[in-house]
């Protein structure tokens, strides 16, 4: 029997409140799944060492205190209907419109398990290398809360659908953030359970409004072992999980809509010693906040121990405004969930292959073999393929995979141009992505289609326009979608100036007006040469053929 820690179950209640806040109007950031590699930027070791140094000066421990982080992730299953009822799953629908009699816990209603939810959980389990239990069991976990109308949640306590998996994630480390560090976090189990409804607290009128639209939506709870040591690692692990779930299509993974909810268990200890007392941090609704909340909590615990205080086993809430974690109002000490077997559901059985499905199980049986075969390419495999087949740097492969649709965009451009993929990548990850970020657009909203970018890059590759002009043209294409690169170049007369006579006179003009620089060059200061090149390009608005300009300038200054 898996003994679940009593606090973990509060997740449902707390997230219910949190999501309610979101409904109340604290504007959620729109493109949360586009955080890209924000969290690769910070080096967690710096933070830890800083703390450790201070610690050493007060007492003299042999080893510094380090953080230990475990996560519990609730992922809303992407399905049309709820886990046990045929009511629709939807975000921001009119209150209580997506509620069946079962979801409202009317007497006489019974749970009917949604096959899609089982398949989603099993698919996720397979992608994370879990052992899928051939037989898993449902249990009731009781708590008394208004957005849980039955007074219990159907979950899997004794035997979850899958156990013992691993999530492999990567961090970019090293001085230039270009070294890929691969880490692993063990996944203890994946269980199916019901989501709760949402509560809207009306403090003025001292009442709570209940919306049961979310009540009964299928969740996969992923319990991770405490294998991480800082916020950056946790955020990278969650980001990787998010990408995997999105690739599988088992969860949309939008944290701001509560489709992916993370609770962090944080403690500190000296390596090799027993784990310290842990706290649970809740109310984290973005990957960036997750990282900050955990780092704050680790530091807070280290400082508490430094002062000779003890860390309390408690549930804390992350306040994104202050960046602090604060203890949640002490809930009643009595936390007996009165787990008991769910009497209305026989065990859930999944089969290894078609042949092992007994007669009478019907066509609806869940078969591992079939799900394994239909697993899509996972993010790690995608990155590997990008590096192998296009010769990209690992950090570029991260950027492409992190941004929804960017990899497909890049591949489409590569297909239509003779330009080397390694040269295309800069255009996609710097220029294009820069424009997208600046306008807060997703790749699917990009006004410049891959074929148009390919056309532009072709012009540059063929030597018809210079790099700086190409950048200008991209800008113009962005503002005037529908116009081709060639058309813009022709209209604006941006083509490369290759006429030797024209360039000769421009170069002469530049040299004449900068006698000091010419003297410096003749005295052996080679750096000046590039400055003169730049001045010529400025004169020609970046249209001069650099090879020709170089030759002319060399002739004239030697």
């Amino acid at each position: 029997m898996t003994q679940r820690r009593p606090e973990t179950g509060r997740a449902l209640v707390a997230t219910g409140n949190m999501a309610a806040c979101a409904v109340l109007g604290t504007a959620p950031p729109l493109h949360v799944n586009k955080l890209s590699c924000l969290f690769y930027r910070k080096v967690c070791d710096v933070h830890r060492h800083g703390v450790a140094r201070r610690f050493r000066s007060t007492r003299v421990p042999d080893q510094e205190l380090v953080g230990v982080v475990g996560l519990e992730v609730h992922a809303q299953i992407r399905s049309s209907t709820k886990l046990f009822s045929a009511a629709e799953v939807g975000f921001s629908a009119p209150p209580n419109s997506l509620v069946s009699f079962f979801d409202a816990s009317l007497p006489g209603t019974l749970p009917v398990l949604n096959r899609r939810c089982v398949e989603a959980a099993v698919t996720t389990a397979l992608a994370l290398g879990c052992t899928v239990n051939r037989k898993s069991l449902f249990d009731r976990k009781h708590y008394f809360y208004a957005d849980l109308p039955a007074g219990y949640q159907i979950t899997q306590q004794r035997r979850a659908v899958a156990v013992d998996g691993r999530l492999v994630y990567s961090l970019l480390g090293g001085r230039k953030r270009s070294q890929v560090q691969t880490k692993t976090v063990r996944i203890k189990q994946i269980q199916l359970e019901q989501d709760s409804g949402k509560s809207l607290h009306d403090d003025q009128r001292c009442q709570t409004l209940i919306d049961l639209n979310r009540a009964g939506v299928g969740l996969m709870e992923l319990v991770m072992e405490p294998d991480m040591s800082c916020g950056e690692e946790a955020a990278a692990a969650v980001r990787e999980l998010q990408l995997i779930l999105q690739a599988l299509g088992t969860c949309q993974g939008n944290m701001s809509e509560g489709q992916l909810r993370v609770d962090a268990n944080v403690s500190v200890h000296r390596p090799g010693e027993a784990l310290g007392v842990r706290t649970e941090v809740k109310n984290i609704n973005s990957a960036r906040f997750l990282s900050r909340a955990i780092d704050y909590e680790i530091q807070r615990q280290i400082e508490a121990l430094e002062r000779g205080e003890a860390v309390q086993n408690e549930t804390r809430m992350y306040d994104s405004k202050s960046g602090h974690t604060i203890p949640m109002r002490d809930k009643e000490g009595l936390q007996d969930y009165r787990f008991m077997p769910e009497p209305n559901l026989p065990p859930l059985v999944v089969y290894e292959d078609r042949r092992s499905v007994p007669e009478g199980a019907g066509p609806g049986a869940v078969v591992l073999e079939a799900l394994r075969e239909s697993l899509p390419e996972l993010p790690s495999a995608r990155r590997g393929r990008l590096v192998r087949s296009y010769g990209l740097l690992p950090e570029h492969s991260f950027t492409l995979v992190n941004e929804d649709g960017l990899m497909e965009y890049f591949e489409a451009v590569v297909k239509e141009t003779r330009k080397e993929p390694r040269k295309v990548i800069g255009w996609v990850t710097n220029e294009l992505l820069g424009h997208l970020k600046q306008h807060n657009l997703s790749v699917s909203d990009c006004p410049v289609p891959p074929s148009a970018l390919a056309e532009l890059l072709e012009l540059q590759e063929a030597g018809h326009i210079s790099t700086s002009v190409a950048k200008q043209v991209l800008q113009l294409m962005w503002m005037d979608p529908g116009k081709g690169a060639q058309e813009i170049v022709r209209e604006q007369d941006l083509g490369l100036v290759c006429d030797s006579g024209d360039l000769q006179s421009v170069c002469q003009r530049v040299l004449d007006s900068n006698p000091d620089q010419v003297r410096a060059l003749r005295e052996g200061n080679k750096k000046v040469f590039n400055r003169l090149m730049g001045l010529v390009q400025k004169e020609t608005k970046g249209r001069a053929d650099p090879v020709l300009v170089r030759r002319i300038l060399e002739d004239k200054t030697s």
Partner: protein, 155 residues
């Protein structure tokens, strides 16, 4: 259902028994009145007297009222009834959770056929606001035994 759940808790709290198969306890309330069904001679446990603070804890957990002497007696009879199970020799028998254990669990296709009945559901609630159910703010813990008694007296 509440009594059954409470009974399940008692067993765990008393720490004397392993968890009971649920279907057994769920049948219990129906047979409660026929005291003659209980074979007193085979019951080897005598600790069916439930201390007051345990009753209090159970009430708080299960929100079931055992206040009266009859209530307490009923609870004790329930425990005695269940204790009969100890007489059965179950060595080598794998415990069951449900009599449906070997039945196929039906899996439903992912097609919307329910919902869109907010009006009907909200009619059942005494207090609503717009399309919401209305509940008191937060969880109000059950008052302690003394307060509860006086509260109930006045109600």
């Amino acid at each position: 259902m509440m009594v059954a759940a409470a009974l399940y808790t008692i067993r765990r709290l008393l720490g004397r028994l392993r968890p009971l198969p649920f279907y057994v306890t769920s049948r219990f309330p129906n047979t409660l009145d026929s005291e003659q069904n209980i074979d007193q001679t085979v019951i080897c446990f005598k600790a069916t007297q439930v201390p007051a603070d345990l009753v209090d804890k159970l009430e708080r957990l299960a929100l079931v009222d055992f206040r009266t002497r009859e209530g307490l007696a009923c609870l004790e009879r329930a425990i005695r009834f269940a204790d009969q199970l100890h007489v059965v020799d179950t060595s080598g028998v794998e415990p069951m959770d449900s009599v449906q254990e070997h039945r196929q669990l039906f899996l439903r296709g992912d097609v919307v056929t329910e919902g869109d009945c907010a009006e009907k559901l909200l009619q059942l609630s005494s207090t609503t606001e717009e399309e919401y159910f209305v509940a008191p703010p937060g969880n109000i813990p059950l008052p302690t035994r003394e307060d509860r008694a006086s509260m109930l007296k006045h109600s």
